[in-house]
């Protein structure tokens, strides 16, 4: 099995910046499921067609997560555009997530 792969590769329209995200989860544990649902909702509403999301299950790939500097799950990493950002928790603080992703000032 492959370690991980982009889940919803999306190409932005011409001139649109694609936000590259990586979500670290622990299988279907409650906070991980909530984080995924919250993130999907945020992407649907604020980044339609302009994001790429890779999901990594740390129960399967702990070393990959450690190599990426992840300490706990759920954690969301924004890889690009810069600045890079990391958000920890179930992503229920929507305002904070939008600011961290650079969607909101």
């Amino acid at each position: 099995m492959r370690a991980a792969r982009p889940r919803k590769p999306k190409s932005g329209a011409a001139g649109t910046t694609v936000v590259v995200l990586r979500l670290y989860i622990a299988s279907s544990a409650p906070n991980s499921v909530r984080a995924l649902a919250n993130l999907e909702d945020i992407c649907k509403k604020h980044l339609p067609g302009a994001f790429s999301l890779e999901i990594i299950d740390v129960l399967e790939f702990p070393k990959r997560a450690l190599a990426d500097g992840i300490l706990v799950t759920p954690s969301l990493a924004k890889l690009s555009p810069s600045p890079a950002a990391k958000i920890v928790g179930d992503l229920s603080d929507r305002g904070g997530v939008l600011v961290a992703l650079g969607i909101k000032q």
Partner: protein, 287 residues
């Protein structure tokens, strides 16, 4: 071997577990998320492993693990992950009615260790079991066949965990996942076979064999040798009088195949019970 390790220190271990987690996560946003109860697992760089927090471990264990529903388990992981955001872990409680006949199907269920009966309800209110669903399948398969309403009463027989999904999300998932479509069609066909077999069983087989078959199949789905239900429920499920259940259960108990006490049945001798069962168990045990 799964590199994840459960933090299972049953006696006096909670403090040690928490102490270890706190040592791994001392400060920063990780610590704040931990304090807010928003963390499922902590990564331990010294061992290269992920450690589940007790609450996450309990939740995964209660649900039987992420892939404990066989229908979901059969999906490629990528397809399963696409469903993850739409699945909600729930506890299904014995006696709970998930759908009534004619009701619109608003949610579908993928049981883990819960056990569910599909009942045909007659005009006079009498009900007869025509199928059952456990970890091998799902409740709400009609949606996958384009039908919006339930033809049967769906009653939880044995409490347990499961995963729930909104009907709209389920329909969307079907359109975007070929493996899910395949599994659902395979399962729908298996249910058709089961219904045919059950119809013949109800007509031709004696009560003792049917009861043995029902107990075995229920135990298989619950992954347990202990089944909690009363004579009244059993009678309604098998479509017979309570005295018929009493006679059959007494006969099986006398042969030391089961024990029965106050709504709790325990399978004592599985091989013996299989021998006592009607042939339907062998025919439909692999749905």
């Amino acid at each position: 071997m799964n590199p994840a390790r459960a933090l299972d220190l049953p006696k006096g271990g909670e403090r040690l577990v928490n102490g270890r987690i706190l040592r791994l996560v001392r400060s920063g946003p990780e610590r704040r998320a931990l304090d807010a109860g928003q963390v499922d697992a902590v990564l331990d760089a010294a061992t290269g492993t992920a450690c589940l927090l007790p609450a996450a471990e309990r939740a995964l264990s209660q649900a039987g693990g992420p892939f404990s529903n066989a229908l979901l388990d059969a999906l490629p992981r990528e397809d399963y992950r696409r469903l993850l955001g739409e699945l909600e872990a729930v506890t299904l409680t014995a006696g709970e009615v998930l759908y009534e006949p004619g009701a619109r199907i608003r949610e579908v269920y993928f049981p883990n260790d819960a056990n569910v009966s599909l009942l045909i309800v007659m005009v006079d209110g009498k009900a007869l079991e025509v199928g059952r669903v456990g970890r091998e399948g799902m409740v709400g398969i009609a949606l996958a066949l384009g039908e919006e309403t339930s033809a049967v009463r769906v009653l939880v027989q044995n409490s347990g965990g499961g995963l729930r999904m909104k009907a709209s999300a389920f329909r969307e998932a079907i359109t975007r996942s070929l493996p899910l479509q395949r599994e659902l069609h395979r399962y729908a066909y298996a249910k058709l076979i089961q219904a045919r077999q059950t119809a013949a069983c109800n007509r031709f087989h004696h009560v003792e064999g049917r009861l043995a078959c029902w107990l075995l199949m229920t135990g298989d789905r619950a992954r347990s040798e202990r089944i909690h239900l009363t004579h009244a429920v059993l009678a309604a499920t098998l479509g017979i009088r309570r005295v018929g259940v009493t006679n059959a259960a007494t006969a099986l108990q006398r042969r030391k195949l089961i024990s029965y006490r106050r709504g709790s049945i325990r399978i004592l001798d599985r091989k013996g019970l299989e021998a006592a069962s009607c042939a339907c168990y062998a025919n439909i045990r692999k749905p």
